[in-house]
């Protein structure tokens, strides 16, 4: 089989390229930038479009209203043509994502929380789940490089992490809400640290500095939240990479030798097209990637591509999430950003079996939002009681509620580690399709007993913390449904081809010229926001592919 001989020119339509990347989110963008810089000809297919910051609603009066629909992170709520629907009737959590250049980071809050050393050694330390085939220390150089591409803001010295290089931009203000949270944690002697965010505080790599508008999760109209359309694609395009938007991939094709030859996609005019490549890299997230593999059945791969282990789509992890709201007498400027994390706490992150569960969770303190936010969180109405009478939430009580809560709230978001279970999975739905008629994914997912106990423990500790901060009122939303921001684990990485889908370098065991560089390959989920680790792993795998180019198998 031919090795890849990089051809440092922009790929032309119809030409067979060195590498085809599917998905222009965080992982695909890292791969595109670095592969093109190394001289590979690269084409990336992205089903969404380039985001237009002028369309983001953050500067508009109706910001809160449209955040609940057109800019909601749940594709089933947005219901836009470029989104694919997800069948969720058998899932406790709704998956969240966004189709476009930059992927779901378009709507993320920018919490930058790399996995900790223990996250790579869960089996060794806690006797459950799996160890990763590499360690925190192996990944650290790639993390530090990515942090300088992303423009992370933060303060070094966090005792929740081993020492590392300084962040490229200073920390963002924690504001009155962050200070209020920190005061309570200090009284209890618990860990906190000013938030580390993928939001620069000074101009950086094409990004503007954050102006604290507080609308991070509906797209940043200031161009101040780190998304790959700003930080990576200008470099990739300059290197000669080609990006085709509005391209919905239907199938990865293979030749008679079992090598991937490229992909069939539907362009935005509904025409079927084909992109041939010597190497194929999937970066379509923990639902999109297994969906595509399961769609790519053939006589040689009757159960879907790269699925001889039967694990494609299994072990879906989405991070069950609870939120705890505290109301204070003092005004906290609760609508001001960043809507990244003001401060975080890793006090209860590591396992203590006396708590009745294993692993742990990270807390992020966030501001309360605008007046409609007094009864909602990230576009979902959650803080209103069910079966309420009209006068409970309306009438004079509405005025009292807004007077009491608006500008006086802080919210702890609890991200608990989701342990892998083969029964939690992505399959193809038998009826539902996207707007191109391609079968939609169906999610089968149940929150585990371990997760339930973990979240209840953490909710109780957050209530302690808010009490110590002086909260006069609290409210808990246990296991919110619209919280599947983190789509992980559905194409397990490991050394044994019978028990995993990709090897330690992201290459599929079954198709030697096909790779998976997104969060699908994660053996475990950590108890924190995964984008930092997704991008770092993508960089690690990409560099290995570059270094091994002479030995790489290719169609």
């Amino acid at each position: 089989m031919a090795a890849v001989k990089p051809s440092p020119v922009t790929a032309k339509r119809g030409e067979t390229v060195d590498v085809l990347i599917i998905g222009a989110g965080p992982s695909g963008s890292v791969a595109a930038k670095h592969l093109s810089a190394a001289g590979f000809s690269v084409v990336t297919l992205e089903q969404g479009h380039w985001p237009d910051a002028n369309n983001f609603p953050g500067r508009k009066t109706e910001f809160e209203l449209v955040a609940q629909k057109q800019w909601h992170p749940n594709p089933n709520v947005r219901d836009l043509p470029r989104d694919y629907p997800v069948e969720t009737s058998d899932s406790d959590i709704n998956p969240l994502m966004f189709a476009g250049v930059g992927g779901s980071t378009t709507l993320y809050a920018g919490h930058w929380t790399p996995f900790l050393p223990s996250d790579f050694r869960v089996r060794t330390l806690d006797g459950i789940a799996d160890d990763w085939p590499f360690t925190y220390e192996d990944l650290l150089p790639h993390l530090e490089e990515i942090e300088h591409e992303v423009g992370v803001s933060g303060l070094p010295g966090n005792p929740a992490y081993p020492p590392q290089n300084a962040f490229p931009t200073p920390p963002l203000p924690i504001g009155k809400a962050g200070r209020k949270a920190a005061e309570g944690l200090d009284k209890l002697g618990w860990h906190w640290w000013p938030g580390t965010n993928a939001i620069p505080s000074i101009p950086y790599n094409g990004l503007n500095p954050c102006v604290r508008r507080g609308t991070c999760m509906t797209g940043c109209p200031e161009g101040a939240k780190s998304t790959a359309n700003i930080t990576h694609w200008p470099h990739a395009l300059k290197n000669g990479a080609r990006l085709i938007t509005g391209a919905r991939v239907r199938e990865i094709e293979v030749d008679e030798r079992g090598l991937a030859t490229g992909a069939v996609y539907i362009d935005e005019n509904g025409r079927e097209r084909r992109q041939n490549a010597r190497i194929v890299v999937l970066c379509a997230n923990g639902i999109g990637t297994p969906r595509l593999l399961l769609l790519s059945k053939s006589s040689r791969f009757p159960d879907g591509l790269a699925n001889s282990s039967g694990l494609v789509g299994r072990r879906l992890m989405m991070h069950p999430f609870s939120a705890v709201l505290g109301v204070f007498n003092d005004p906290l400027d609760g609508w001001q950003g960043p809507f990244g994390q003001l401060i975080d706490s890793f006090e209860f992150y590591e396992t203590d079996e006396k708590r009745g569960f294993v692993r742990g969770a990270k807390w992020g303190a966030m501001p309360g939002g605008g007046p409609l936010g007094a009864t909602s969180f990230v576009g979902s109405k959650v803080f209103a009681e069910e079966n309420a009478k009209v006068e409970d939430a309306w009438g004079a009580n509405l005025h009292k509620l807004v007077d009491r809560r608006f500008n006086h709230m802080l919210i702890y978001g609890i991200i608990g580690e989701d342990l892998p279970e083969e029964s939690n999975r992505v399959i193809l739905d038998g009826k539902l399709t996207d707007s191109d008629g391609i079968p939609a994914p169906k999610i089968v997912y149940k929150v585990s007993d371990n997760s339930d106990k973990m979240l209840r423990f953490h909710v109780a500790r957050c209530l302690d913390a808010l009490g110590a901060s002086g909260a006069i009122e609290t409210q808990v939303v246990h296991q919110m449904r619209d919280t599947g921001w983190h789509l992980l684990g559905t194409c397990l990485m490991g050394d044994d081809p019978k028990k995993s889908v990709v090897d330690r370098w992201g290459r599929t065991h079954d198709v030697p010229n096909m790779y998976i560089f997104d969060g699908s390959a994660f053996p475990t989920s950590g108890g924190l926001n995964p984008t930092a680790t997704i991008m770092s792993v993508a960089l690690r795998q990409t560099k290995h592919l570059i270094n091994e180019r002479r030995n790489a198998e290719a169609a």
């Binding site: 809160e64 931009t169 200090d186 002697g189 004079a396 807004v402």
Partner: protein, 141 residues
């Protein structure tokens, strides 16, 4: 019924004032015009609300607004929710209401990124640091 006519505005105004009355020093919903141009604006921004909104309004025509709202809450909560969101979104988009509650909207705020943060200057963070590492290191192979 799918068009905003005077009857729709009148019925909506009545229910909106049940949901958002003049009280606690705040004006009623109709006093800031949620049933006027702002209603057209909100439904144009959120056409997904139209069906439930008009369904609820149709059931409330020529009825006492309070009892109509109570009945919707019991029998068609989605319709009352749509009417309530249209009313409250319009209300809190009103400049007068925003001024009264002290909400300038999602505005820009400048800050000095290079300034030493208060929590560093006053020693708060050093207390956290001085407690030492809390992570479990990678176990030796």
């Amino acid at each position: 019924m799918t068009q905003i006519d005077q009857q729709v505005r009148t019925t909506f105004s009545g229910i909106a004032d049940v949901l958002i009355p003049e009280a606690e020093g705040m004006p009623a919903a109709s006093a800031v015009g949620v049933h006027k141009e702002r209603l057209d604006h909100i439904l144009a921004l959120r056409p997904d609300l139209r069906e439930a909104f008009f369904r609820g309004i149709a059931s409330a025509h020529n009825r006492d607004p309070k009892s109509a709202a109570e009945e919707l809450n019991a029998q068609d909560a989605a319709a009352l929710s749509a009417i309530g969101l249209v009313a409250s979104a319009g209300y809190y988009m009103s400049p007068r209401v925003r001024e009264l509650i002290g909400y300038p909207g999602q505005e820009k705020r400048t800050y000095d990124a290079e300034a030493i943060p208060e929590y560093v200057a006053n020693g708060m963070l050093k207390i956290v640091q001085d407690r030492g590492p809390i992570y479990r290191p990678t176990p030796k192979a």
